[in-house]
Amino acid sequence: MTIDLKTVKHISKLSRISVDDEKANKLAGDLNSIFSFIEKLNELNTENVEPLTSIAETTLRFREDEIKSENIREKILKNSPENNEDFFVVPKVVE
């Protein structure tokens, strides 16, 4: 299997990472060498194997639905690249 430029562009779209043509070419090369390494898994017949989804064999715990949060609104907003008083600011999305 080979990953072509079109596929790289598609993945970059899905990943929300913009790549120019030069980078995309380099990435195609990298991804192809990584995937040819990964292809090794096809040597194994895994038809009757259960997938391992969690290594910690525990059932998820329930907890009370209660408000525990401290008042850290200011601290949280301070980390945002752009905000006004109580809101995060993003580029305009509604015309």
Binding site: I3, T7, V8, I11, S12, L14, S15, R16, I17, S18, V19, L27, D30, L31, S33, I34, F37, I38, E39, K40, L41, N42, E43, L44, T46, V49, E50, P51, L52, T53, S54, I55, A56, T58, L60, R61, R63, I72, K75, I76, K78, N79, S80, P81, E82, F88, V90, P91, K92, V93
Partner: protein, 484 residues
């Protein structure tokens, strides 16, 4: 007497308890040495003046019951520290100040530890050489222009250079054990679920574990005791009875059965590592333990499995970095354009590569062929270990297929970089505890490590084996302070 910074954690704690040292003296000693060691580039953020304040406060009202009484400790910059910048080695978090504390670091401060600073690491812990950090390469104290391993490379370098008495790292595919091996120090990855992941910048959630990095095995047991705890804030934290690892530490491993997996003899592995492994086997026999040849037949499939599972989880975890609520933002023409530019400029090349691998293997039409397949093979890898542990108590392997390499030597070839983790990755996939201890030097004088892998939740046994081997090996690091 040797200077304070050369002492082990255990020795410093004894000296503080007997009032021979004050916390302020100890803290100043490590700060002074850290100040002289900027060339190593081990720190991303220094917390020196506030550390001295904390030390003075401790000395005014000392509590000697604590396990880390007034001990200054620098930690990997992947642990969120309340009010102190936490970058994960990335431009995208370059200005991020957490409003909360990770459970693991909280446990350290509760036992009297004092934050000395935040240590460099590969970006989002993705790397084996610390070369993917936005904050630049870290030099291995063993030699200039030599990588300290990764991703906990700032941690291993700071520890080996005596800039901190102990430190903590995180290990997703070998990120504690490989740098420990490269710097002649001890590093332990606990069983998945032992140490809380709360407040650790996430990479691959089913693999990530925090763990101690120390100068010797005793210190490792002390620090593990402090950081391992059940935590309701981490849904995968496991409530099991934790040992008093340091007080239960013993060099009596008579009758223990230690497995030697034949699959860990890989092509191209230097003869020196093979010899070291043999030496380790002899040491274990001398201690009265029994050596048993075992097979872990799916070992060769561990790395390809890892390079599906880890990027898949990473692509999902790192979706949160969108330039809206925190971190770096690049201006865009519209919202989508802003996302794409932010992530393109904010992430480094290796992180982008892994996000894209992950996105691809999870994408429609490829999920079954890659992600599901990898989860199935992961089951087989775990079963290999389950079967082995019906016969043996622990497994002995080399930690890495080579000693530390030069900066730049492998950075252009992702697959050759990935091969570094060939002996450590299976342990993460199976959720097991593993420890790397320094076992000898190669012909260049670079350290080499041996890894002991344990049964789930049986950190005590691997610590005991490591402790008894440490006595026999009597390892001495060859560090010349070339950077001072």
């Amino acid at each position: 007497m040797s200077s304070i910074t050369e002492l082990s954690l255990n020795e410093i704690v004894s000296n503080i308890k007997s009032k021979k040292f004050s916390s302020t003296e100890v803290t100043k000693a490590f700060i002074e040495r850290s100040e002289k060691s900027k060339k190593l580039n081990a720190y991303v953020t220094e917390n020196f003046s506030s550390a001295i304040d904390c030390a003075k406060k401790f000395d005014e009202k000392p509590n000697y019951e604590l396990k880390l009484p007034g001990i200054p400790i620098a930690v990997k910059d992947l642990f969120c520290t309340n009010g102190i910048k936490t970058t994960a080695g990335s431009k995208i978090l370059n200005n991020f100040i957490p409003a909360y504390e990770s459970t693991v670091t909280q446990n350290i401060w509760q036992q009297g530890g004092i934050l000395l600073g935040k240590l460099n690491c590969d970006e989002f812990a993705m790397g084996s050489s610390n070369e993917t950090s936005f904050f630049g390469n870290v030099h291995n104290p063993i030699g200039e222009n030599l990588v300290p391993g990764g991703s906990s490379g700032g941690s291993s370098a700071a520890l080996a250079a005596n800039l901190t008495p102990v430190t903590i790292g995180t290990d997703t595919g070998g990120s504690i054990r490989q740098p420990a091996s490269f710097t002649g120090t001890v590093g332990l990855k606990p069983t998945y679920g032992s140490c809380s992941r709360y407040g650790i910048v996430a990479f691959a959630s089913s693999l990530d574990q925090a763990g101690p990095m120390t100068k010797n095995v005793k210190d490792c047991a002390i620090l593990l005791e402090v950081i391992s705890s059940f935590d309701k804030k981490d849904s995968t934290s496991i409530d099991f009875k934790r040992n008093n690892y340091s007080s239960e530490l013993t060099n009596n491993i008579k009758g223990k059965k230690i497995g030697i997996p034949k699959e860990y003899r890989v092509d191209g592995m230097p003869q020196e590592i093979e010899n070291l492994w043999k030496k380790g086997i002899e040491f274990i026999k001398d201690c009265g333990a029994e050596i048993i040849d075992i097979s872990l037949p799916h070992t060769n499939y561990a790395l390809p499995t890892y390079y599906i599972v880890a990027p898949a989880e990473a692509s999902s975890n790192l979706a949160r970095y969108d330039g809206v609520k925190y971190g770096f933002r690049s201006a865009g023409e519209n919202l989508i354009d802003m996302y794409e530019k932010t992530r393109s400029e904010g992430f480094g090349e290796e992180v982008k590569r892994r996000i894209m691998i992950g996105t691809y293997v999870l994408s429609s039409g490829y999920y079954d062929a890659y992600y599901l397949k990898a989860q199935k093979v992961r089951q087989l890898i775990k079963k290999d270990f389950d079967d082995a542990y019906k016969i043996v108590d622990a497994i002995l392997t080399p930690s890495t297929p080579s000693s530390a390499f030069k900066i730049g030597e492998k950075s252009d070839d992702p697959v050759s970089m990935y091969l570094n983790d060939i002996f450590t990755v299976p342990v993460n996939l199976a959720g097991l505890p593993g420890i790397s201890i320094p076992a000898g030097l190669d012909k260049n004088g670079y350290p080499l490590g041996l890894q002991i892998i344990g049964k789930p939740f049986d950190e005590q046994t691997i610590l005991n084996i490591a402790y008894s081997m440490e006595e026999k090996i009597n390892f001495k690091n060859n560090i010349s302070d070339w950077w001072i």
